[in-house]
Amino acid sequence: MHELGIANEILGVALSEADRHGAKKVSSIRLRVGVLRAVVPENLSFLFGHVARGTAADGAVLEIDEEPVRVECPSCGIADVRSIPWECPKCRGAGISATGGDSLEIVSLEIDTGER
């Protein structure tokens, strides 16, 4: 349920950006969420819908792009995986490095300015 805090933070950023751009309504929010963040997209969308009720972001759709962990193996090169492995997923060798997968960002918003 740590998605509740995250949903509140998303709402705060979305509403302040919407306000800054004079928007009447936020229709969608694109997020970049690393697989290491243990965010369940369904939980986040459900809780966001709840906290956004009655705000300019009421009914906004969360578009969640998952960011994988990038594993670099000295012999096999680069592979994208969903968790930090302790060995190369291909050759089972040690000496790998794992980066990324920890993003938690709002990429963009789709807003409605009410102008035509």
């Binding site: 349920m1 740590h2 805090g5 995250i6 933070e9 998303i10 705060g12 950023v13 950006e17 751009h21 928007a23 229709s27 997020l31 290491l36 963040r37 243990a38 962990v69 968790s83 930090i84 492995p85 302790w86 060995e87 040690a94 790998i96 490095s97 794992a98 997968g101 920890d102 938690l104 960002e105 709002i106 990429v107 963009s108 918003l109 789709e110 807003i111 409605d112 300015t113 009410g114 102008e115 035509r116």
Partner: protein
Amino acid sequence: METGGKVRIEVERSILQSADEAATAIRALLAGRKIYALNMISSPGSGKTTLIEALLSRFAGKGGVAVVEGDIETEIDAERIRRCGVQVRQINTRSSCHIQPGQLLRVLSEMDLSATRLLIVENVGNLVCPAEVPLGEDTRVVLLSVTEGDEKPLKYPLVFRTSDILVITKTDLLPHVRFDVSCVRRAARAANPAVEIFETSAVTGEGVPALLDRFEALAAAKAPRR
């Protein structure tokens, strides 16, 4: 402008921005006062409070230790630390499963930190949420007791990715449990190649002096004796 007044705007902002700002304020406060800060994270019952008691037995006599305890409910841990004779505050997070930097900033602003050299923050027992929220600490410490199982770095990768020191605790129980220390070391290093790993037992005292030496060196580097 698109039809219907719909516009896509680029934001590229961290979702945790307000927390990040509070953490930056804490970092500035600690830097200004030359206070070295630890953020202790683990599951409930891994030995955070016991490690803090060991730290106090080494540092309290040298003056200037302050402790902030985080728990969902109760003052039990704060009472335990208060008996060691140091300044302590309890944060009860209620429905929240970690200390928020804003809460810590408020508590620090109420404490007398004029003589403080070392600040120890004990986070709420939880391997998930505390990992997401920097508290402006110098060193993040994750504790893993051998009774919890050696797969924890794989199950809770973020906390192992973001911690500077891993302390494997309760090593006196190793003969009684299935826990492969070398697997944990390998997984922790895959998550964070720079992590420093210590093995300790509060019962036998094994490994504890080496860990305390390390904390003392880190504290001395930031906060020279006054």
